[in-house]
């Protein structure tokens, strides 16, 4: 096989990158949005006030960053009070689950390998690193554990849905629908759709089969998950941006900056 020296010689005779389009735009946008999300999320979990729009504003909305609130440090009726010894923000306790899930997600891996690690920044644009072992060694070999993060995240969309339903209660047995409730519902569904399109989940639920005909139920589940999987990137971004937006909205309502309009 003629590889090696010939290659090295020839490479010297042409520029490493011949692309003339705006190949840098996509990684640049990804970089900015992901970094912005990380900074905002860090701030919000370390700022344990106004994450609950409670009876003082006539609502019952809990920020998704603090759901489920299992410590006794959440105000209002949302606390499940399972962990009383936790001295810090309740948000910190819940953070590891979405972090593990998103950080090991096949789509986000692509996004940050390209935009943060520049390996490669774009197709046919040189890798910024001299040597490369991909996901074959520690620490990146741990990406193989993504399916366990999938198992751990499964309760979350359901809990968020439950919190959204609880948000329909406007105090002392009265029910209603505010804009905040719609935002909470949309947020729960977006996380649900993102989760349903998980590549690891798609494999576990049916993709591992060689003969679909031997597992009709698993085949059906695989087909449904494939539909979400086709747009996994889209769900990844919308659910990411929307969870931050939900938190912002609830903080604005809780702190009295805006009033949550009641639809009925």
């Amino acid at each position: 096989m003629a590889v090696g020296t010939l290659e090295a010689e020839r490479r010297g005779t042409r520029p490493a990158n011949l692309r003339v389009d705006w190949w840098w735009l996509q990684p640049a946008i990804t970089f900015v949005v992901l970094l912005g999300f990380v900074v905002y999320s860090t701030w919000t979990v370390f700022t344990p006030h106004d994450f609950y729009a409670g009876p003082s504003v006539g609502r019952h909305y809990l920020s998704p960053y603090y759901s489920p609130c299992i410590t006794n440090r959440c105000k209002g009726g949302t606390t499940w009070n399972l962990v009383s010894w936790w001295p810090f923000s309740a948000g910190i306790l819940m953070m590891p689950f979405p972090i593990l899930f998103r950080a090991t997600c096949y789509y986000y891996r692509k996004a940050y390998y390209r935009s943060f690690w520049l390996s490669p920044p774009a197709c046919a644009v040189p890798d910024a690193h001299g040597s490369y072992t991909g996901e074959s060694r520690f620490p990146l070999i741990l990406q193989n554990l993504h399916r366990f993060a999938f198992y751990l995240i499964i309760p979350f969309p359901i809990i968020l849905l439950w919190e959204a339903i609880k948000g329909l209660e406007f105090g002392s047995g009265h029910w209603g629908l505010g804009l905040g409730s719609i935002i909470l519902f949309v947020n729960a569904f977006l996380l649900g759709f993102y989760t349903l399109g998980c590549h690891a989940g798609r494999h576990i639920c049916g993709g591992h089969l060689n003969a679909f005909s031997k597992g009709p139920v698993r085949y059906w589940v695989w087909k449904q998950m494939t539909r979400f999987n086709l747009h996994h990137m889209g769900w990844a971004w919308t659910s990411l941006v929307f969870v931050a937006w939900t938190d912002i909205y609830i903080r604005l309502v809780a702190s009295g900056v805006i009033h949550d309009p009641r639809l009925f």
Partner: protein
Amino acid sequence: MSDQVTMKVWRGDTDGGGFHEFAVEAREGEVVLDVIHRIQATQANDLAVRWNCKAGKCGSCSAEINGLPRLMCMTRMSTFEPGQPITVAPMKTFPVMKDLVTDVSFNFEMAKRIPAFSPRPPDADGKRRMAQRDVERSQEFRKCIECFLCQNVCHVIRDHEENKQHFAGPRFLMRITELEMHPLDTGDRIPLAREELGIPYCNITKCCTEVCPEHIHITDNALIPLKERVVDHYFDPIVWLGRKIRRKG
């Protein structure tokens, strides 16, 4: 209608080379390969270019056009900014033989390292059966025209020559997935895929999928499922336990 275009075509051989500029006519409806042929016919008779079908089906005319790996016969001239020069270079990952023609033997060597289909014994009536839904799944991978654009764009070997020893590239890792998913196949190529042909080197950045002229979902439907099968085999204690119990029961 016809336009005058500037083509910057890489010319050279195993000793090196560089871009040569050609002012050439491009007629309405033409593709890059037409213009390359016009250069060959009128200005550079010895320009080497590999092609066969001019219909995007033989996979011979792979090159890098304005830096993007593409089939020359499927890239319309009308897609370029008028007045701007268009560069045409040989695939970067494989050694140049002459001008736009590269030596793609790396790919055939990799193909040889994958054990062939090994079907289980036929049914009692001497026939082998597969359900349509099982056929459909691997059908997508069989659309491959072996243009090797995915192999060319993959940074694992494009930018890291040393990985050519232990990374088969997306086209052949996809071949392993196809065989592994085959309901009649009895082979187990997962250890090979992990230990010798380099699936862990893929960082799922999807350039193979982006350039595939057959629009095969290489990463989503072949490489990620292969990675998940590696996880089943090596990293998942639950799957391991399940296998143990089933074997006993």
